[in-house]
């Protein structure tokens, strides 16, 4: 089944727009751009919009995907230009296309983050050491409460790099089942360095399928 899909960036001031509010925002942006998308029937119609992997509040991304169904409007090629300029600051549509692949095929995502630990030295080595050990356990809040999980099997290609007063992490993490979030990576780094992080900013770079092919 072919789906209309678009790829967008969420960064800058838009990082605190919640998942639900993001849906409303896109719904209005389509209207502002003069594009008709499919709505549900019934008393309180809402638009058919699905986001691939919900992005936590405060995290940037350049690989967000949104499924919709264009009922009337321009071609998918022209859509990004029509939508950009009708969106809040920090949200930019990069491209739109028809895809056959379901979001459930997304298995991995690549992210990068910068964390500062004032006064701490050589954080990169400490982080590298922790991720070279047998396990990396963090407390994770799930629907059932708080539990400890070992995230090591779900993190690969982790490369830490020293930056002034902190560390830059780039890693490929499990996107779904389980989802390894920037909070989990931050918690692990804090354990490694032995201090709380001050400034933290993560950015999702890319999503992949199970075979590490870029997902589209």
């Amino acid at each position: 089944m072919l789906r209309d899909r678009l790829l967008f960036v969420k960064e800058g001031r838009a990082i605190f727009i919640s998942h639900l509010d993001l849906m409303h925002t896109f719904q209005r942006a389509f209207i502002r751009a003069g594009q008709s998308i499919r709505y549900t029937e019934g008393f309180n119609p809402h638009s058919y919009l699905t986001i691939a992997i919900p992005l936590p509040l405060g995290v940037e991304s350049e690989c967000e995907m949104l499924d919709f169904e264009l009922v009337d409007g321009c071609s998918l090629d022209e859509l990004p230009e029509r939508l950009n300029g009708k969106l809040p600051e920090g949200i930019t549509v990069l491209k739109a296309w028809k895809s056959e692949r379901k979001f459930s095929n997304i298995k991995w995502l690549k992210l990068t983050g910068e964390l500062t630990f004032s006064g701490a030295a050589d954080c990169a080595s400490k982080v590298r050491e922790l991720f070279s050990s047998e396990s990396v356990v963090v407390s994770k809040k799930t629907k059932r409460g708080v539990s400890d999980i070992d995230i090591l099997p779900f993190v690969k290609d982790l490369s830490p790099e020293n930056i002034p007063e902190g560390v830059r992490i780039t890693a490929v993490v499990s996107a779904q089942e389980p989802t390894i979030s920037p909070t989990d990576i931050t918690a692990a780094c804090e354990t490694a360095v032995g201090a709380a992080a001050q400034n933290v900013l993560f950015r999702r770079l890319c999503v992949y399928d199970g075979d590490m092919n870029e997902f589209e």
């Binding site: 727009i17 509010d21 502002r32 709505y39 009708k86």
Partner: protein
């Protein structure tokens, strides 16, 4: 823009962080280097409340239309955010640029509700601006205020440099241009304020001094040479020619009123004697329906909103309402945009209008009879009969509506227990009408009765009245509650203590400045919210300053008493207000303006002197 580190660190730890970031679609971003005037438009309540405010939408667009002027928005942070900001050393900033408010040229507060006064002080303090005018020597920042609460500006006269009385579409640019000249030519603040006082509609409190009698009433209000003896409000004569916002900021988050607002007309023909808005917005001036239809279409297309509301004090009195609804619905229906009409009267309620409007989405019906007995409705000049109310409910129920909200006040002048019980009798008659006429009984039925405590407001015929005490109010609430028996009826009543403080502030004088400051220093802010309001704080503040709440709220004013707000004029003659009060006590109604001019005086503000009633 990237949010700075300090702010980005605290945002994940507070509720609804997106309300502090800015960046919304429709926000105005200008190049600061190309602007010589920076205005911080401060709404003394939360983002969600402020962004729903029509005045804010109008003035934001109006000011930003001026070349070289950049107007940005500032809202009151919620308690959790304010605590984190103070902890992190982040001063109050404007949403668009994130620049600190204290660096702006003009800090402008929108005052629509007296309970916001302590929030004004809190925002000034959080901005790092001295709260008292006397402590601010330089021209910058100039702290100004506008809005309906400015019709009695006295309680916060010590904190605001100048007040704008009336409608801002013309006077706001005038005062801004004067400021621009002052800044360029390096005027002293005093010099600027004296010149500003010459502009019609500008009230500069520091040019007036107040003396008090031993009994606490005002002995005299004296003005300095050059300041006007009376400040007349500004109005727009032709609403069709005036600035009207079409493009607005569309929040990325949900707010109270997520919709396009079309302002149909200003003023009101009804003359209900308790209603301040009905008097201060006179004379009646309407917009033409064709202009409104075009504006409505553009606003929906530009915003992407799927709801539009027609706004005025009494929408069913708009002369071209049917034509307007037809024109809008023709466009709205195929686009699934719903149209809502609040502020409908129960006497000329037209089912045909409401049916068409509710075709897209159905919402509840609300009416405000205000008093339960005809006698009391006549006294307050709310000329709605029981027959009107019941006929309206009947048509509504026949058309399938199954819920109705009815608003009343307790504590109106001349009210007796019989009048209170008459509310319950009226409600039971409405229930009976439902039983007899509802077409869709399976849906069940619900009436919500809501009572607020009457607050005497300045510039109304009841500005001399006393407010009943909290005990008296609660006794009447209990009486009504006992009489409302039906399971289909729920009853909500406004808090007695907030109503009392609002009554104190509404008719307060300058001495209350010390009380408000004391309340703020004790942590008072966001007092329209139950989470923050504390009656005890006000009691302490009054005790400290030696002033008495009863003096302000519960005291009947004498006819010849100099009222603290007497310098401010809304165009309606005080003699007219007094004669309306006398008519109230004789139980005599004054027909609405459309039935014949009652001579309130406001028409003299119009060219040619005839009002659009």
């Amino acid at each position: 823009m990237q949010i700075n580190n300090k702010l980005r660190n605290i945002l994940p730890k507070v509720q609804k962080p997106a309300r502090y970031t800015g960046g919304e679609y429709g926000q105005i971003i200008k190049d600061p280097a190309a602007c010589d005037i920076r205005i911080a438009f401060c709404f003394p309540d939360t983002y969600e409340i402020g962004m729903s405010n029509l005045g804010m939408r109008i003035l934001y667009g109006l000011w930003n239309d001026m070349p070289g002027v950049w107007c940005e928005r500032v809202f009151a942070p919620w308690g959790d955010m304010e605590d984190k900001m103070r902890e992190a050393g982040i001063e109050l900033f404007a949403l668009e640029s994130h620049d600190p408010v204290k660096d702006f040229d003009i800090v402008a507060f929108s005052l629509g509700y007296e309970m916001a006064f302590s929030t004004v002080l809190d925002m000034l303090d959080l901005a790092g601006i001295p709260i008292r005018s006397s402590e601010r020597d330089s021209l910058r920042p100039l702290v100004i205020a506008g809005g309906s609460s400015c019709y009695n500006p006295e309680p916060i006269a010590d904190f605001i440099d100048l007040f704008i009385i009336g409608e801002g579409e013309e006077v706001n640019p005038e005062i801004t241009e004067l400021y621009r000249t002052a800044k360029k030519e390096n005027w002293k603040k005093d010099e600027f304020l004296c010149r500003a006082a010459q502009i019609k509609g500008i009230y500069v409190p520091s040019l007036y001094s107040v003396e008090y009698n031993d009994d606490g009433t005002v002995r005299a209000i004296t003005h300095e040479a050059g300041a006007p003896a009376q400040v007349d409000k500004r109005i727009i004569l032709d609403l069709d020619e005036a600035y009207m916002p079409v493009k607005t900021i569309v929040p990325s988050t949900s707010i109270v009123h997520d919709r396009v607002v079309l302002e149909l007309f200003r003023g009101c023909i009804r003359g209900c004697r308790f209603c301040q808005a009905g008097f201060i917005y006179r004379p009646v001036r309407a917009r033409s329906k064709d202009l409104l239809i075009e504006a409505g279409k553009k606003a929906i297309a530009d915003s992407g909103y799927d709801e539009m509301t027609l706004s005025s004090l009494s929408t069913s009195d708009y002369k071209q309402l049917e034509g307007l609804c037809d024109g809008l619905l023709e466009w709205c229906e195929p686009r699934k945009v719903s149209l809502s009409l609040p502020s409908l009267r129960a006497d000329n309620f037209s089912m045909s209008i409401t049916e068409r409007v509710q075709k897209v989405r159905k919402s509840g019906l609300t009416f405000a009879p205000e008093a339960g007995s005809q006698r009391l409705r006549d006294t307050i000049n709310k000329n709605v009969t029981e027959e009107d109310i019941l006929n309206t409910c009947r048509t509504a129920f026949e058309s399938g509506w199954s819920s109705v909200k009815l608003y009343f006040m307790l504590g109106l002048p001349t009210e007796t227990d019989e009048d209170v019980l008459a509310i319950a009798e009226l409600v039971s008659k409405v229930v009976y009408v439902w039983r007899a006429h509802a077409t869709n009984k399976a849906r069940g039925f619900h009436i919500t009765v809501s009572t607020s405590c009457f607050i005497p407001k300045p510039h109304t015929p009841f500005q001399w009245e006393r407010q009943i005490s909290m005990d008296e109010y609660m006794a009447r609430v209990a009486l009504l509650r006992g009489a409302l028996r039906s399971k289909s009826v729920s009853y909500n009543w406004h808090d007695a203590d907030t109503s009392r403080i609002e009554a104190v502030l509404s008719r307060g004088d300058r001495r209350l400045g010390a009380v408000i400051e004391s309340v703020f220093r004790k942590g008072g802010k966001l007092e329209a919210w139950g989470e923050y309001f504390s009656y005890a704080r006000w009691e302490e503040a009054f005790a400290e300053t030696g002033l008495d709440m009863d003096f302000y709220a519960s005291r009947e004013r004498k006819k010849d008493e100099i009222l603290p707000w007497s310098v401010i004029s809304d165009g309606v003659d005080v003699d007219f207000l007094w004669s309306e009060r006398e008519a109230a006590y004789r139980g005599v109604i004054t027909p609405d303006c459309r039935h014949g001019c009652a001579g309130c005086g406001a028409s003299s503000m119009l060219k040619g002197g005839v009002c659009d009633a």
